[in-house]
């Protein structure tokens, strides 16, 4: 843009602000030399320039400064504060954890119960087939039946006298049929000689059932195992429930006992598990039960 009498004031302001380029500066001085009467106007513009450096002081600089000590404290303090808040937040859950467990266990148990029933049904079918088709595979049943007076490590089972008689009768039949061979284990010989018709007995079926169920559980359970009571124990018993006399109640009791056992084991495991609280990968504290 070329300087002229229409725009010279704008040039004067730009000159005063020191924003003219080298060429513009030369053109401005030439124009001013050609129009000396405009020097007065330039002086008027110079007069309204604020060039005084008056000393205004902000007196509250202390409130603007930042201190390193406070920052370091905050950096160190925030994880601690977070841990405390987290601890307070989760403490009620830790306190109520034991009370809430039965609900979870109950839900899990429903599934377990279903599985046991299914397994039982499957085993029943499978065992029946095995007994009818392949008599040699019923070894567990025979072994159980061969130990009528052996007490289990846990509570003794309640079995009927009729069941006891059935097994004894079976034992006698077996003895009658096998040929005595020296240096051969009695149980093995009995297994080989068990007739199919003798094995298909309701009490034995029950024995097989319980034995099969034991295989599916992590630890064997002796509760309601159809071992046989001594006469004294049987007399002391208030009620004797057998698979023959009360098959439905017997099955339900068996399932209930297993259910309680599993629940107790689960609670025991959870109680023994330590609880560790972490923020990210940083371990804060551990609660040992």
């Amino acid at each position: 843009m070329k300087i002229d009498l229409q725009n010279y004031e704008e040039w004067m302001v730009t000159f005063m602000d020191g924003e003219l380029s080298q060429d513009e500066l030369l053109a401005f001085h030439e124009f001013l030399a050609a129009h000396p009467d405009l020097q007065t106007e330039l002086d008027s513009y110079e007069a309204v320039k604020f060039d005084d450096k008056e000393g205004v002081v902000f007196e509250n600089k202390e409130m603007l400064y930042k201190k390193a000590g406070a920052l370091v404290f905050l950096k160190k303090a925030w994880p601690l504060a977070a841990a405390i808040i987290l601890g307070i937040a989760i403490w009620p859950f830790i306190q109520n954890k034991t009370e809430e467990l039965p609900v979870v266990t109950q839900e899990n148990k429903v599934e377990t119960k279903k599985t046991e029933v299914d397994v039982k049904e499957e085993n029943l079918t499978q065992v029946e087939k095995e007994i009818l088709v392949e008599p040699k595979q019923v070894t567990p049943a025979v072994v159980m039946a061969q130990q009528p007076h052996t007490k289990t490590e846990s509570a003794p089972a309640l079995v009927s006298r009729k069941q006891k008689k059935n097994v004894q009768q079976l034992k006698e039949n077996i003895k009658e049929e096998y040929v005595d061979v020296p240096n051969v284990d009695v149980q093995e010989r009995e297994i080989q000689k068990i007739p199919e018709s003798k094995i298909i007995d309701r009490s034995l079926k029950e024995v097989v059932l319980v034995k099969e169920k034991k295989k599916s559980l992590p630890e064997p359970k002796a509760i309601l195992t159809p071992n046989f009571l001594d006469v004294e124990e049987e007399e002391k018993a208030l009620l004797v429930i057998s698979a023959d006399s009360h098959p439905v109640i017997y099955e339900k009791l068996n399932a209930a006992v297993n259910k309680v056992e599993t629940k107790l084991e689960t609670i025991k495991e959870i109680k023994q598990t330590p609880i560790t609280v972490c923020i990210g990968k940083r371990k804060l504290f551990t609660i040992n039960n």
Binding site: E9, E10, V13, T14, M16, D17, E19, S44, Y45, A47, V48, K49, F50, D51, D52, K53, E54, G55, V56, V57, F58, N60, K61, M63, L64, Y65, K66, A68, L71
Partner: protein
Amino acid sequence: MNLKSYNQAVNDYSDRLFGFVLKNLNKDVETARDIVQNCFEALWNKRADVSTDKAKSYLFQVAHNQVIDVYRKSGRMLYVEDYHENVISDTPSTNDYKEIMHKVLAQLPTLQRSMVLLKDYEGYSYAEIAKITNVTEGQVKINLFRARKKLKDLLNSSKNKKAL
């Protein structure tokens, strides 16, 4: 920007920033102090993004925006058409030239006043003023010209009035 350079910025710029805000607000000391405090708080919060050499510009940019907010909220904005009567009525009562200048300055629109202060007191270039006030360089040039012309006319008017 680290802690040390921030505290150095407090030492270097707090007085100048306070003067800029104070002149813009027509010597409202309390509001000016609050604005300066807000500016440095904003700088501290943005210290990761603002380099040391840009700290001063950032402070004045925040201050300018806050001054505009103050005028907008309080309705203290004066329009160009109003300034003649006010200045002429006030000027005869004082002989102090500096005082006249500040009264004339107070009659300018906020944007023009900020530009004059940034140019004359802080020595910023048109490009830097454009960045601080968030306008184009051409708008800075035009606004500064209008501001200076108004100041000149006002000052001449007051001188003529006084002569009479």
